[in-house]
Amino acid sequence: MLVLLGAFAVLPLALPWLVGRIGARAFLVAALVPVAAFVQAVLVAPDVFAGRTPFETYVWIPQLGLDLSMRMDTLGWVMALIVTGVGALVMVYCRWYFDGKKDGVGQFSAVLLAFAGAMYGLVLTDDIVVLVMFWEITSVLSYLLIGFYHRRGASRRAALQALLVTTLGGLVMFVGVVLLAVHVGTTSMSKILATSEIWRGEGGALVNAAIVMILVGALSKSAIFPFHFWLPGAMAAPTPVSAYLHAAAMVKAGIYLIARFAPTFALAEPWRPIVISLGVFTMLLGGIQALRESDLKRVLAFGTVSQLGMLTAVLGYGSRNTALAGLALLLGHALFKSALFLVVGVIDRQLSTRDIGELSGVGRQAPTLAAFSMIAVASMIGIIPTVGFVAKETTLAALLEYARDDAWALVALIGILLGSALTAAYGIRFIWGAFWTKKDAAGQPRPVTAWPDPPLGFLAAPVLLAGLAIVGGIAAPALDAVFAGYADLAADPAHADHVEHLALWHGWEPALFLSLGTIAAGILLFGLVRVTNWHSRVLPFTSADAYNLVLRGIARAAVATTTFTQRGSLPVYVGTIFVVFVAAEATALLSGGDWQIELEGWHTTMQLVVAPIMILAGAVAVRARKRYTGVVLVSVTGLGMVLLFATSGAPDLALTQILVETVTLVAFALVLRRIPARMGEHNASVLPVVRAVIAVAVGATMAMIALVATGARVADPISDRFPELAYELGHGRNVVNVALVDLRGWDTMGELSVLILAATGVASLVFVTHRADNLSAGTASMPTGVIRHRRPLVETTDGPRPRAASPDSTRQTWLIGGQRVRPENRSIVLEVIVRILFHTIIVVSIYLLFAGHNLPGGGFAGGLVAGMALVMRYVAGGRYELGAAAPTDAGRLLGAGMTLAVVTALAPVLFGAPPLTSAFFEAELPLIGHVEFVTSTLFDIGVYLVVIGLVLDVLRSLGAEVDRQAQDLRERGVSVA
């Protein structure tokens, strides 16, 4: 069984390809799998009958106790035969139905076969959680099948409706299944069902709730009121799908579950009231609706709803005799209803309509089709000698017996009698509508619809299914022997003396007369409907309306929520974040209590000196009207930070901060020269009071957090061992630097990634139209001699070129890019100074890089200093000078730095050490003396390169490229700010 399940899972993958090769004939190949499963089931029949239940299991998720276990008892065996048998016939039928069609048939065949596999697994699995999974798989696959004609809105809506309704039920059922499985302590269905009366006593309410939830799932899947509306809608599916899903397979999943649980749980308080009242009501509702419809397929759809209601009531009753009759009804329904659907499919395929009003005289031209349809309808109505007759009579006999002492049996009996009359009426109406020659208003016969003869293969499936309805009736005693294996599960001591049997002829019993009475009433009813042409509704509203109402409600709620939360305003979003932050932190702070605060006024006099300056600068900066004022004032707070760092024993921080302040200021200047100095009136502050309140609240909260957090630090800081570790492991005296490149190297690695992302972001925003690096393009065209000999650049028709090196002119320039700077912006003094200082600064930066391990400095400081040198070259000589000065592209620097850092971090892994482990080498070299080298220095070089790359990227984007764009504008005559 598991092997077959695997085949059901694997073969669909190949089907689309196969359909592409051999067209619709691939359905015949697909049918082989269900045929194999059918044959396998037939072969194990002796074991099933003898009670040696075939059982296969495969441990799947032992942690959750989930097994892929397959158990074929009588009920599972019958269901497996129906699912695979009808499945195979429907696929054979599809070979004709989709003959010559191309669109989506490949996927369709795959989904149909996979669906058959899911149903096969569903009816055979013994693990209740796996059953829910198969259940959901069938829901999803049925969505795809119903939505086959995806270009039609009706199809899409119907598919979505079926999916929503059945998955809603499936989820509710899942909750119930989990409750039940946890309560019983196993997911094995056979063990759960072997319990007795667990709905009584302790935990009984829980079990009852679980039962109701499982019923919700079953009823929604089987289209029982109030979930019935999705089934008629699902008639938008191709007819083979309707025949399979909506007659034989998927809607039977719910019935199967009810049949599975009824013998054990039928006596639980909620069971019979729910199952019988809803079942009977659905039967009547569906029957009446079926009389109204003029579309043959919808007649059958409502008929199915009606029959499913009957099956729910009969199988759900859960006593021995009803179980026997119910299983016969189930088999009968699967046979005749899929046969009738397939007949409708033939009519639709041949005539492109299935409207009762448009068909006339088909029966005379297609006698075979008509004859077998009549057999199927006879089985539906319950006319001897069909299986439907046998089942119906047994049902009535069983309920007559139970109705003596059980009110629910009486309800079911009366409902089924009324429903059977309706069934007879719409059954006759179906035959009349499909095959009879109809008369128009004047009483004249309507023109006969021309009937193109279909090939034999197309008719084979419906004919065979309808024929089986008679075979089943005649073979009733055999069915009785087989079905007893299931029926006897429902022990029924009260009626032990009254055991029903399936038989073609029971004799002249009350049940027979009741059955005949319903048929007679049905004929009368059909006549009445035909004469009065009745079309009004039964209920003033439909469940579909309720469904639409709910959908609209959800859509409205979604729009309302989006409108409320997505204000589209940045200040509102940022403000929300801060308000939530204050609320959350303040709640935590206020609800805590026991704080230990150790407060001093100040630690150093420098703190007292810078405090008023920083606070004032910060306060004025945010009110500044001019951009540059604000930026400079922010720099003042930054310089205050430098002073604080310097006096708090943090020389590295002071060094880095002052360098960053400088570079930031330069970057600001580069951008601000292109936009107006004053912030415009439309930037006027809004709601300053509200903002001030939020701001002060955040400031106060942060101050409180600082007090409480520092007070909470009572344990020894881990950094107490840092100095020791830095020296012994990292071989460096500068603890902060060793922490960055060695002890906490991963942090730095993350930081490098952020730097690269930010640099890339800057470049992409500025080079938004082209990613080519103009910097190298600007200098690459120059002969190397320009850079080596520093010839002055002159404008030529080909762009900037070095002045020809004539023998009499050996004049050199201070900076080669200087000539390209506009005269009013050019400063020779600056050029001279930059020329002299540049290399010195680079040497200093390299010194900082290497000295950083033991003295203040390191990769960050060194990189920033080198970046400053580049800034100087750019400021003095413009963008060509930057191109000449930059060693390479910014992107290459960033990439090389990051690669170096990553390689250094990962190299130790090759030697079996954890990443970022540093190695130490020392040697006595002649002339140089004692040399020490730690591999973390390589990591620091990576940092150095990334920082240079970042500064260079900022310069060439916000500097050089902005220059170029401004020049473009100037050349096009646009005035530039």
């Binding site: 004609y149 006698p367 400031g699 830095a726 906490r744």
Partner: protein, 177 residues
């Protein structure tokens, strides 16, 4: 842990100033606010460092207690450089915003505003999606070209037995042939 009240006051003030500026629509002010927040956050780390000591170099003090705590310093160093990188990114945003709209103001998102306007229209579109325009089709083959499947030779015989009321030319009772 011993903390300095003055530092906490500066930190609170910078946080307040930063948040105030960040709630503006002008991107330049947002950037100013971001830088102030960055300095405030670094100050927070400085506060957490506790009482300052000598610079943390191995051998510069006899015991770790006399040194400044090196861990917050390492974190601060990282923070300073990242603040620079992100503010460079914000600067590029400001430049781009100016290039596109001659303004560095963040306007309300048009798509979000459009949703509010659409709320009323949606009622109609939802109605369209739910209505039963082609639900009443009585065939599977709406808008599809389809032809009945026929058996070639049966048509040939049809000409011979025009009136045959059967599925097939060979007479009733045999399956469709």
């Amino acid at each position: 842990m011993n903390v300095s009240l003055v530092l906490i006051v500066i930190m609170g003030a910078l946080f307040a100033a930063g948040v105030y500026a960040m709630l503006e629509r002008s991107l330049t002010r947002v950037l100013i606010g971001f830088l102030l927040l960055g300095n405030a956050a670094n100050l927070f780390l400085l506060v957490v460092m506790g009482r300052p000591g000598v610079a943390p170099f191995f051998g510069s003090a006899d015991s770790p207690e006399e040194m400044s705590d090196p861990l917050p310093q390492a974190l601060t160093l990282t923070a300073i450089v990242i603040t620079f990188a992100v503010s460079a990114f914000l600067l590029a945003l400001i430049y781009r915003s100016w290039q596109l709209g001659q303004a560095d103001t963040v306007h309300d998102d048009e798509a979000d505003l459009a949703i509010r306007v659409r709320a009323a229209e949606d009622e109609d579109t939802m109605g369209d999606e739910i209505s039963d325009t082609d639900d009443d089709a009585t065939t599977d083959f709406v808008g599809l070209d389809t032809a009945p499947i026929t058996v070639l030779h049966s048509r040939d015989f049809d000409a011979l037995r025009d009136d045959a009321p059967t599925d097939s030319p060979t007479g009733p009772g045999e399956d469709g042939r």
